[in-house]
Symmetry: C2
Subunit: 174 residues, 2 copies
């Protein structure tokens, strides 16, 4: 067994459901979802099933094709006419993982320029590690589960989904 | 058993893999993926695993919250600076289903205004039914599988993913 953590689609789907319940319990309400692409696309789409709000996406590239972090995150796509769409709104910013926190803080700062009313962050996983950056204290934070600082294999990145699910089946997290 | 078709995440993942093989066999190459949101988000993210190209997303709303089609599709989000990003490019336009074809043709026509070099469409499913609109003949079309004209339940729309998977397990398509 390699030293990676494998998650099934079903596990991710249930974690989003749990996150939704946490968000509802917290009293935080929001007008729209901003999904950080490409990792946030699948979690955000599942969120929409439980909390039917429009999804905007932003495309951010931080890791290069060899999975090494680049100097700083780079925008692949941003939201058109952001001020009109985000100003005064309550936003749920969704990504799959809070790893070094660099991408999340980059996106968050970009969003905050557009004067939303409030922003909450929802991630499926938070790696237990020292982060490169901090969130402003006014930002609400939701996390599906905390995990060890190991390489994570998400189901959508599987070349062979059957083999992926077999690896996940012998993984304590599933 | 209700008269719906249920698909598991694993089935969708494998259909995307098959589509990728079809696309490679066809000789069609592309520079970027345009995902039609929100149905195309999950298929597009899986495409990226096999064919690592940037994903742009467009948000289109055609069905209202009661799942009734509105008068015409409406843009929720479009691509910033589209001309620079899409002009002269080969685009793979991705959505989950070719149902009435209205949304696909709407998006296609919008994209064609920006003078891409070529556009191919890739959908997971094509419903065997009379369509409301036709594609221009120069557009290449890829489809994972043809299905009956029944209501489709995708896994990402499941309120209870275990119950969804049980329904899919007794479904001929899985």
């Amino acid at each position: 067994m390699d030293d990676k953590i494998y998650f099934t689609y079903q596990h991710i789907h249930k974690l989003v459901h749990k996150l939704v319940q946490d968000i509802i319990s917290s009293g935080f309400t929001f007008d729209c979802i901003v999904a950080i692409g490409t990792g946030g696309f699948i979690p955000a789409r599942i969120f929409k099933t439980y909390l039917n709000k429009p999804i905007f996406t932003v495309g951010i590239q931080y890791y290069d094709e060899n999975n090494n972090p680049s100097e700083s995150p780079r925008k692949i796509q941003w939201i058109d006419e952001v001020e009109r769409k985000l100003k005064g709104k309550r936003i749920l910013l969704v990504d799959e993982i809070d790893d070094s926190r660099t991408t999340l803080v980059f996106c968050l700062n970009e969003l905050l320029h557009h004067e939303p009313k409030q922003v909450a962050i929802a991630v499926i996983h938070n790696k237990k590690k020292i982060k490169n950056a901090d969130f402003p204290h006014e930002v609400v934070y939701f996390c599906g589960e905390y995990i060890e600082d190991k390489w994570v294999e998400y189901p959508w990145s599987a070349l062979d989904i059957d083999e992926h699910d077999r690896c996940a089946a012998i993984n304590e997290y599933t």
